[in-house]
Symmetry: C2
Subunit: 286 residues, 2 copies
Amino acid sequence: MINRLCIIGVGLIGGSLARALRAAGYCGEVIGAGRNPNHLRQAVELGVIDRFETDPGLAVAGADMVLVAVPLGAMESVFRSIHGRLAAGAVLTDAGSAKGSVIEAAGRAFGCVPDYFVPGHPIAGTENSGVAASVADLYWNRRVIVTPLENTDPAATSRVRAMWETAGARVSEMEPAHHDAVLAATSHLPHVLAFALVESLARLGDREEIFAYAAGGFRDFTRIASSDPVMWRDICLANGDAIQSMIDRFIDDLRVVDRAVQEGDGERLLEIFTCAKQARDRFAGN
Amino acid sequence: MINRLCIIGVGLIGGSLARALRAAGYCGEVIGAGRNPNHLRQAVELGVIDRFETDPGLAVAGADMVLVAVPLGAMESVFRSIHGRLAAGAVLTDAGSAKGSVIEAAGRAFGCVPDYFVPGHPIAGTENSGVAASVADLYWNRRVIVTPLENTDPAATSRVRAMWETAGARVSEMEPAHHDAVLAATSHLPHVLAFALVESLARLGDREEIFAYAAGGFRDFTRIASSDPVMWRDICLANGDAIQSMIDRFIDDLRVVDRAVQEGDGERLLEIFTCAKQARDRFAGN
């Protein structure tokens, strides 16, 4: 149980967690924090939070659980503003899509990474954002990865796990660097490819025509290119090394396909496409 | 009106056209042709065709409209088998995803490209295939591109246009080479990228884990990697030049993103992602 939950960054991710925990009767008061009072007022009207502060340092007062769900680029300044303001025994966690950079930001802001900080990442979301898009079942049957450090208090980790499980998620633990490599492969690289493809096509001369003849497959393939550009800029900056190494690896693999197309090597193409279809079908059947 | 429609290759594409035209009362008898009698029997049971032949040369007898909807790699042999067997006044069209190669195949099979042949391409389909997946409304509000040549009989083109319009499609005309360039950009390249990405990830050491942590965005992005590998091998071989030039262009553009990630150039990343989001949102709003 959480007595007072503080959500810093009341958007899709933070708002959906608040909704889920309230629906489960798992938390008492919910305090929101953020920069935009209009968004926070909307969150109150929607019943997502009870009240709000625009200063995170005030918002965390008396909270026994604090979730920071702001873009990666804003993590450090949020950590700085709550430094020394958390209640005794409070647990701090975050929802950042890259963990190494958030841990470094916490280390810089707090002097060292606090033992009550449990880095976390709920793998959920849509191309929509904002509290208006939040829903109580966003985390239902979704994965959440927590990446506690050696000095993290196991009791804090347990409380974060229990919170996400109450929201319906399946929680796993991972080393931060491993998390960042896995997410670079399954999430960050696909987003980069989708953004790069749409931008590349948008620069073609007959741009309107290009999109006019795109079909359903293109619509699905490029859906993630409608994601928030600021959030994805931050992710690319925060997890740059892992993303860059995945891009390089992908370009090498794409060159193999390119060469097979060039050489008319149907056997090699069929082999690659068949392997992909089998893996995708297995994944989709999960 | 079509008196006798012959569909060679009764799968998703051919089957859906037959269903649409029957539903519209636009055609009399529908004859199917294909290599697999079991599939053809299923098509009869589903009410998609009235009867079938496994020899295309027999199937076209007496038909006034013939659609060839087989994989690109099978076009030439189908054309050879119907050469000299079409009824006087019959119109021939196809549904191949690349037009240059089909036109060349027709030229080789018939000696020259017949004036009653109207190359066509319905831009519709799903990652599913086969006659069981066919539906009467597959072409509703979809694009069909026809690419008549200089010697094509305008009356034949009109009849093909009218047929697709009856199925609910919006029909445009294009030069074959232009069609192949546009489709390389909006369809063939995305499919190559999706296949290449999934195959690349499937070769990572912790393969099961990689896919376990993939989320909804990955599911959408990779849906087209579940497409038929044989069909896509054929497309890559048939439209190789245009596809290769799109892959090369894309790798150049991806290298720009890669460099921005490497240099931590957030401004450039934001610019690229914002342009992509705007173009995607505009496209999705169409």
